[in-house]
Symmetry: C2
């Protein structure tokens, strides 16, 4: 059975994120899965997602870490309740703060792997650590503080 990505279960009215929304045709549409006690996202940047030629743009790395962090938070929230991600009510987290350390240049032209671990979890707040690797070498490390999306952010939900 194919593992399920958390982003495939974000409700349609909050599935337009440029980083991870399945309904954003211009965006990255990343997919985040459990793999044991870690979460994983794989992504291959386009040739133009460059900083210094030959290396991946740091803003894209920050973006991937950001959405992997909110996805990790939602996955962790379901798991804490002992629920599958295709059950309702859904969880949707947004980013309160983001820290990225660029440890070494990330080579462009290959698939990147992001792995997340939950560092701290409360009902409405999940802090995760995200490690980005290229060719098996760690090139960046992030920390994402994600909070449950306030319902009043959404215009016309249930209207």
């Amino acid at each position: 059975m194919e593992p399920k990505a958390i982003q495939d279960y974000y409700p349609d009215d909050v599935a337009h994120c440029y980083g991870c929304g399945k309904l954003n045709e211009h965006g990255y549409q990343i997919k985040t899965f459990w793999e044991g006690d870690e979460t994983i996202t794989r992504f291959t940047p386009k040739y133009y997602h460059t900083s210094i030629p030959g290396y991946v743009y740091g803003g894209l790395i920050a973006s991937l870490i950001d959405c992997h962090g909110t996805g990790t938070a939602a996955l962790a929230a379901y798991r804490a309740e002992g629920r599958e991600i295709d059950t309702i009510p859904p969880f949707r987290f947004v980013t309160a703060s983001l820290q990225v350390d660029y440890l070494k240049p990330t080579p462009l032209g290959i698939e990147l792997e992001l792995r997340g671990k939950v560092l701290e979890q409360k009902e409405k707040k999940v802090i995760s650590e995200i490690i980005l690797s290229a060719n098996g070498k760690i090139t960046a490390r992030g920390k994402v503080v994600a909070v449950q999306m306030p319902e009043n952010l959404i215009v016309n939900r249930n209207a």
Copy 2:
């Protein structure tokens, strides 16, 4: 006289950054200027640079803060040497670490303003604080640790 953007003076072989490279036709091509003792960048996101509908994607905000920070670092390096940005040798900084606090949702559909201040400056390292505003309200705050790009990052320079 038009003020000069630091990105217009990045050497052509390091002017392909997705966030601020004048030679990246797919990218944001941000422009960073001095305005007194602060640096400023203005940018209007596209409609698809969204997170939750109606608000700007956090990864784009991180990207803008990132490139505004490296631009601020280069501007500050010239100023510390008492040189104009159209003189050589050029300065080009890359990001060592990035912190972004998302203070409130950033509305989509209007021009954003980023203002930078140098917090700490050494010869090869500049730390800046970046404040992002929309409609005159501060919505995000960033801190960028920028370091001078190692020359060996560039393939074929002077080859």
